[in-house]
C-alpha cells in the first residue's frame, strides 16, 4: 500500500513496539489496539498494553506470489502468530524456510523493514517474528 506518511506514522506505537490494548473487565488482549472490547462492548475498561513479543505459530504459509512492495522478499513465510497474552496477529517470519518451522513453534518479535515502495520511496518499518531455538 503506497502513499500516506501520516498513515504509517500514526501506527508507530503498534508497528514498532507491539502496543495494543487490554480489557480489564474480561481480561481480553487486543492487537492492534481496539477501543471497544468485542466481548464487553461498552462495559469494557480498555487500557493500553505493550505485548511481550513472545508467541507461537498458530498457522503458516509460504508466499511465492508477492504483493506490490514485497516482490524482493519472496518466497517468505507468513504466519498467524498467537502472542503469549492470547491475541493473534499476522506477520512475516524471518530467517527461516518453510521446512524448518511448524505450527506450535515459539517465536519472538523482531524489528525489520516491512516494505520499500521503490528505491527512492518511503521505507516502512515494523514487526516481524523469528523462530526461538
Amino acid at each position: 500500500m503506497k502513499g500516506s506518511i501520516a498513515l504509517h506514522w500514526r501506527r508507530i506505537p503498534e508497528r514498532y513496539r507491539l502496543e495494543g490494548t487490554h480489557c480489564e473487565t474480561c481480561d481480553s488482549y487486543y492487537f492492534p489496539a481496539r477501543r471497544i472490547c468485542r466481548k464487553c462492548r461498552r462495559k469494557g475498561r480498555i487500557v493500553p498494553y505493550k505485548f511481550s513479543g513472545k508467541g507461537r505459530i498458530y498457522s503458516l504459509t509460504e508466499i511465492h506470489s508477492a504483493p506490490e512492495g514485497l516482490e524482493d522478499q519472496i518466497p517468505y513465510v507468513l504466519a498467524v502468530v498467537e502472542l503469549e497474552e492470547g491475541a493473534r496477529c499476522t506477520a512475516q517470519i524471518v530467517d527461516v524456510r518453510k521446512k524448518d518451522i511448524k505450527i506450535g513453534d515459539g517465536v519472538e518479535m523482531v524489528f525489520r523493514v516491512v516494505q520499500r515502495e521503490d528505491p527512492e520511496g518511503l521505507i516502512s518499518y515494523g514487526f516481524k517474528f523469528r523462530k526461538l531455538h
Partner: protein
C-alpha cells in the same frame, strides 16, 4: 412482509472480455434478464448492483447512476452495494428486502466486475482491500496467503490433504466444461492441479479462482404477481447475512467461516429446511479450501470431512449434493461483484430445469453461499420452485 420471487435471469459469458467495458457487460446481462422476464423495462421501480471495486479497477465510481443511465432506466433509483466478493449477494438481499417491504414491486439486481483492464499485480493489490489493509496486507499477506493459512490449519486439525483440495478444482472444471457461460470450459486432472505453480503453500495456481470480467442480472417481483410475468418463478425462501472480524487472525477458528455457518443456520431455522433438503448449491470457492470449508459450514458434511467427501465424489452428480454445477468460481470465473448474482442465476436455471448438460435431476431446493474477503461477510440464500 411479502414473499419474493425471481422472474427473470441473465448473464454474460464470464472470461476475458477485451472488447467489452463495465457498462457493456452490465447492460448485456441486464437485457438478458429483462428479456427472460418478458419485461420492457417500464415496469422496473428500483435496482441494486453489486460491484466491489470499479473505482480502483477502472477509475469509475457512481456505478448505480451509470447503470441506470446506460440501461435506459432514468429516473429509476439504482443503488450500488459493496461487500467485497459478497457484493452480488448483498445486492440481491437489498432487492429482496425492498420488494418484501412493499416499497418496490419490480426490482432489477445486477452484479458486475471489469477486472482485466489492469495487470495481475494491480488487481491483486485491489482485491487485497477485501482484507485488513493495515494489519494483514501491509504486513505481507495476500488473498491466497490468507486462505493458505486456513488450509494449513484445516490440514493440521483434520488431516485434509493437498489431493483433497485439488479434487474440488478437478470437480469444478468437470462441471464448468458443461457450462457455456464459464470462463474455462475444460476438464483438468489432479496432476495439473498438484503440479501447477505454488502461489501460497499449500495453494497452487489451480487451487485459485481466476481474474475475470463479467456480469449477471435478475429480476425480482412479489410472489403474488410473479406468475403473471414468468411461467417458472423461483421463490426466495430465505436471505441471511452475517459478519465476522475483518482480519482472519482475530477469528476464534481458522478452519471454517463462522459467518457462513451463522447465516446458513438462520436460513435453515426460518424455513424449517436443512442441508438434507438441498439438492444443489453454489458455494464460494475462491480457493479450493474455501469450498471444503463451505460444505462443512453449510452442514452438508461434518467439520473436517469436507475434503474427504469431495475426493470421494460426494459433491458431484450422483453424490449427496451437487456443489457448483456452474463450475464455481474456479472454472466459471470470479468477476468479484458478479459472482453472488451468477450463483442465483445458476440455481434459478437448475430449479427451472434449464441447466442443460449440467442439470441435476429432481431439484426441489437450492442454496447459494457468497463470501466477502476471508470471511468477514457471508450471505446465504435458499430457493424453491413456486
Amino acid at each position: 412482509m411479502r414473499q419474493v420471487a425471481i422472474i427473470g435471469v441473465g448473464m454474460t459469458r464470464f472470461g476475458e472480455h477485451w472488447d467489452k467495458g463495465f457498462r457493456d457487460l452490465v447492460t448485456e446481462a441486464g437485457l438478458n434478464a429483462l428479456k427472460d422476464a418478458g419485461l420492457s423495462g417500464n415496469e422496473i421501480s428500483a435496482g441494486y448492483v453489486g460491484t466491489m471495486a470499479p473505482g480502483s479497477l477502472i477509475g469509475q465510481e457512481h456505478a448505480g447512476a451509470l447503470i441506470a443511465d446506460y440501461m435506459g432506466l432514468n429516473p429509476v433509483p439504482i443503488t450500488r452495494v459493496e461487500g467485497a466478493c459478497a457484493s452480488g449477494a448483498l445486492a440481491l438481499r437489498q432487492g429482496i428486502m425492498a420488494v418484501a417491504s412493499g416499497i418496490h414491486d419490480i426490482v432489477v439486481i445486477g452484479g458486475v466486475e471489469k477486472m482485466n483492464d489492469l495487470g495481475t499485480a494491480a488487481v491483486s493489490r485491489i482485491l487485497g482491500g477485501a482484507g485488513d489493509q493495515e494489519w494483514e496486507l501491509f504486513l505481507g499477506a495476500t488473498f491466497p496467503g490468507l486462505y493458505a493459512l486456513m488450509a494449513k490449519r484445516h490440514m493440521h486439525e483434520y488431516g485434509t490433504t493437498e489431493e483433497m483440495l485439488a479434487s474440488a478444482a478437478v470437480k469444478n472444471h468437470k462441471h464448468g466444461a458443461k457450462n457455456p457461460y464459464a470462463q474455462f470450459q475444460k476438464e483438468i486432472t489432479m496432476e495439473t492441479v498438484l503440479n501447477s505453480k505454488m502461489v501460497a503453500d499449500p495453494l497452487k495456481m489451480f487451487d485459485c479462482s481466476p481474474i475475470t470480467d463479467g456480469a449477471a442480472a435478475l429480476v425480482l417481483a412479489p410472489v403474488e404477481t410473479a406468475e403473471s410475468y414468468s411461467k417458472k418463478p423461483i421463490e426466495l425462501l430465505a436471505t441471511d447475512q452475517a459478519t465476522d472480524t475483518l482480519a482472519l487472525h482475530d477469528r476464534s477458528s481458522l478452519t471454517g467461516i463462522k459467518a457462513a455457518e451463522i447465516a446458513s443456520k438462520a436460513a435453515y431455522k426460518k424455513t424449517g429446511l436443512g442441508p438434507k433438503d438441498i439438492q444443489v448449491a453454489e458455494v464460494h470457492d475462491c480457493f479450493t479450501i474455501a469450498e471444503i470449508m463451505a460444505i462443512e459450514d453449510l452442514g452438508f458434511f461434518k467439520k473436517g470431512e469436507g475434503g474427504k467427501a469431495t475426493l470421494e465424489g460426494r459433491t458431484t452428480f450422483g453424490g449427496d449434493v451437487v456443489i457448483n454445477t456452474s463450475g464455481g468460481l474456479k472454472a466459471a470465473g470470479h468477476p468479484v461483484g458478479a459472482t453472488g448474482v451468477k450463483q442465483a442465476v445458476e440455481i434459478t436455471w437448475q430449479l427451472r430445469g434449464e441447466a442443460e448438460g449440467r442439470q441435476v435431476k429432481d431439484v426441489e431446493v437450492g442454496l447459494t453461499h457468497n463470501v466477502g474477503g476471508s470471511g468477514a461477510t457471508a450471505v446465504v440464500h435458499l430457493y424453491r420452485r413456486l
